[in-house]
Amino acid sequence: MAGPSLVDRRTTAARLTALSVTVVAVFCALAVAFWYFQVIENATYLRMAENNHLRRLSLRAPRGVMFDRDGTLLVENRDAFTISILRENSANLDQTIQRLSAAAGVDEQQVRDTIRRHRGEPSYRPIVVIDDATLSQVSAVLARRLDHELPGVVVERVPARRYPSVGLGAHVLGYVGEVGETQMAAEGLRSGSLVGQSGVEKTYNALLMGADGERRVMVNSVGREITTLDELPASEGRRVKLTIDYALQQAAEEAFHGLGYEGAAVILDPRSGEVLALVSLPAYDPNDFAAGIDRATWSQLNTDRLRPLQNRAIQGRYSPGSTFKAVVAVAALEEGVITPDFTVTCRGGATFYGRFFKCHLKGGHGTVDLRHAIEKSCNTYFYTIGNMVGVDRLNKWATLLGLAGRTGIDLPNESESLVPSTAWKLARTGEKWYAGETISVSIGQGQVSVTPLSLASMYAAVANGGVHYPPHLLKAVDDGGGWKDADPQAPRGVRLKPETVSALHDGLWMVVNGAGTGGRARVAGRDVSGKTGTAQVISIQGAKQAAGRTEMDLRDHGWFAFFAPRDNPEIAGVIFAEHGEHGSNAAPIARHVIETYFAKKAGIKPYPVFVAPAVAAAPAAVPPRTPPGAADR
């Protein structure tokens, strides 16, 4: 039988028409959908497509190179390699992390932690997982077929800091590290930027950092670069010249090492406030931070009992001991309380307000005037005149000479030096000042606690006749058109009366060149003037702190503050020998610095080699020590 029935044909025709209508409807719907995506939403998808294949790569700017005052290189840059992961192109991130960790021989968990820390960032931004990769790590990664085995893994060459004189002046230079969250927001920095975290690297970060460049590249779907579209080169940070004198810095540190002391030293040019050397020991190696410090080194630096990260010169606070007597003398003379000829008879101590205060010399110094009181460091004399001046006038002159408060040096986190006053005590404890407390203050004990830097600044003021300049480290900046000197510092303080200056300078000269305690700082023909001091450790801390400490821990700290020559001083400073027992043990360090200074000035090379005095109480093998808590208050 052939042929469908008529009715059948009609049904078939109707159904075919229905199919046609449906087909037309679907095609129209598809056309509308494509119209919507391609024409209406075009801009959105175009941008998404661009994000897919256009990558903006940050070109890290080399930080500015730093020199000492004579142009000796202090900090430069080297090439480092970073290995990053681009999450967007790494389809199987887990596997990529595993393979990368295995290839580069790094801890897988650490890589994961790094990725997790940055998980909030857009996935097209590379996350650095290995800073400062070794060449073997780089070649191990590049040897893999990156597209297939390690998709989304990127090796980049970046400039990193190099400190050629490993550890020398570490606390001056500081170190760099990855920018923190808050700083990133505040200064509009890019995540992962390296910024100064300490030292001048931090203070002058804005000068040193330069401007990162940018390279726009076209990448394929596994993040491999195909072509560079355009490039905005990075501009290097400004070159910076510091006031530091490399030779003096080296001399000071060499002397510390020669004697086996930790501690601090600040050497200034009293005529300008320029810091010629600034030492804090033990130090760290800023190179460890250059491209991101590893965890082990970081935690070791932080848990070390000797606290190598602390800059003792500006953050350590210690009682100045007898070095404070210079302030008492200035206050007494300037306030007209005494003349230099004022005498006191020392019988090994004296009684004030019902309590006997000892002099360090049991038999007493006999009758001494101001010059000899300074020379012999007679406590009885200074108890007496300190008591006559009163604590508030001591505070006034300590402040005028730049000892109290902060010096304002261009280093971060300077501690405030403290010279008490009645108002300070009232505000702090709510109690009135007892006149008896002034007696201890007069010899630099009691509540007085100062940083080595502020003490150095004060001796620079004394050297200069009262006028002084805030200590600073910036000598000159190369703004692209050659060196441009930093603005000179505005003078502070007051001009002292000539008889004050001469009496003080005589006394301090006699300390070194007469019968005083500073003989070890003597340099023939240089008229070194100075003052030793002892910062007591045990009496401040009390016996409870003594538990568990070695004998060395409990030794007093030795100070030696100085300037030279006596007339028209060119160099001033402070040596702080941690647990050096007595200031006379710090004096050889000062002598070496002064000798080096004058040798350099006279153009005599090689510079003198440090020779420890035969009788120096140099502890040869020292058990692990801890700086006294007193330093941290």
Binding site: M1, A2, G3, P4, S5, V7, D8, T11, T12, A13, R15, L16, L19, S20, V23, V24, V26, F27, L30, A31, A33, F34, W35, F37, Q38, V39, E41, N42, T44, Y45, L46, M48, A49, E50, N52, H53, A91, N92, L93, M218, V219, N220, S221, V222, I226
Partner: protein
């Protein structure tokens, strides 16, 4: 067999549209593969497909229908062979290894099925296919469908369903029955979901609903497809200038996502032109079904058309991220020898029916 006068009844406009799409396909493959030699393989496949087309055109469709059970049986046997000896590639055992290229029997199954179903429903004297007819038709569809699904290749398996539905619908299946079947399908879908699908298949569907669920896996392709299309704009980025297709952001661009590449490089204008060509082919073929000399011819054309249309709709939707990513080619344009050859053979069948509408 091929009488000279029939030459005049060949549907030249349809044939023109078909080869125009093939040519556009070759150009897009050239672009999507970055000028690699793949387009030469495609040209060779088009050549072989043309031979298949001529064969399908030359033999009277009624003779073919008489032997439909043999053709159907042969392809089913090939499917069984594939399951046992087939070449595994891309997670499926789909291919029979041949000297020149690998043959994918499932691509030919659609037309084998169209033939056997046209014969089944066309022979029926009743106006509407009886329940028995539908049951047989269902079984004839289910057998190869299951075999293909076992490969596993759900996409191609799914293309068999429109063949059955199209043929049954045009054959006059009562709408009530269609409604019941639809209701059954809805009821059965949860069972299929939990029992019938593999984890990765469920994942694909879930990802379609929410691409961000797996932005680096299956969802990645969907998102990238949408970006590719959307970035094309009105006029497109130009030949070989599409960044999405050129730089590998779009996976298997030359194959499943050839339409996305077209959309990116030639924009909405290119999309409209190609959609227009496909619409022309489909509507022209429905016209052929209407003009067919007999019920057998009508149903054969509808069956051949159904899988073709379904694939066009699905692939184009998928190209714009509107459907879950499935390995379904765009007929005539996608790279793939078996697909091109089978599609051209199907076109041959359609031309065959139209050409012989006046013969006895």
């Amino acid at each position: 067999m091929f009488e000279r006068r029939l030459y005049h009844y060949v549907d030249w406009p349809l044939l023109g549209a078909v080869y125009l799409l093939c040519a556009i396909g070759v150009v897009m493959i050239y672009s999507a593969s970055g000028g690699a030699r793949l387009y030469l393989t495609q040209l060779a496949a088009i050549g072989l497909g043309t031979i298949a087309l001529l064969v399908c055109l030359g033999i009277d469709y009624r003779s073919l229908a008489d032997r439909s059970h043999l053709i159907y049986g042969a392809i089913v046997l090939m499917l069984v062979y594939v399951l046992v000896f087939g070449v595994v590639r891309g997670g499926g055992r789909r291919w029979i290894s041949l000297p020149l290229f690998n043959l994918q029997p499932s691509e030919f199954m659609k037309f084998g099925l169209a033939l056997v179903l046209a014969r089944l429903f066309g022979d029926s004297r009743n106006r509407t296919p009886s329940g028995r007819d539908l049951a047989i038709g269902g079984a004839l569809t289910a057998l190869p469908l299951l075999l293909i699904a076992r490969q596993p290749d759900l996409g191609t398996a799914a293309t068999l369903v429109p063949v059955l539905l199209g043929a049954a619908f045009v054959a006059g299946m009562r709408l009530k029955v269609a409604g019941i079947l639809l209701a059954l399908a809805v009821v059965a879908s949860p069972v299929v979901w939990t029992v019938g699908l593999q984890d990765y298949q469920r994942g694909r569907v879930l990802t379609f609903v929410d691409p961000s669920r797996d932005p680096l896996g299956a969802g990645y392709q969907q998102i990238q497809a949408r970006i590719t299309v959307g970035a094309g704009g009105l006029l497109g980025k130009g030949f070989m200038k599409g960044t999405q297709g050129q730089q590998g952001f779009l996976p298997v661009a030359h194959n499943d996502f050839i339409f996305s590449v077209l959309a990116e490089e030639h924009g909405f204008v290119g999309v409209l032109a190609v959609l227009g060509l496909y619409a022309f082919i489909v509507l022209r073929t429905i016209e052929t079904a209407r003009l067919a000399r007999d019920r057998l011819g009508t149903l054969l054309v509808v069956g051949a058309l159904a899988s073709f249309t379904f694939q066009v709709f699905y692939n184009v939707s998928m190209s714009a991220g509107l459907a879950p990513v499935k390995g379904l080619t765009l007929p005539l344009m996608s790279y793939g020898g078996s697909s091109v050859i089978a599609t051209l053979a199907g076109i041959g069948l359609i031309l065959n029916v139209r050409m012989r509408r006046f013969t006895n």
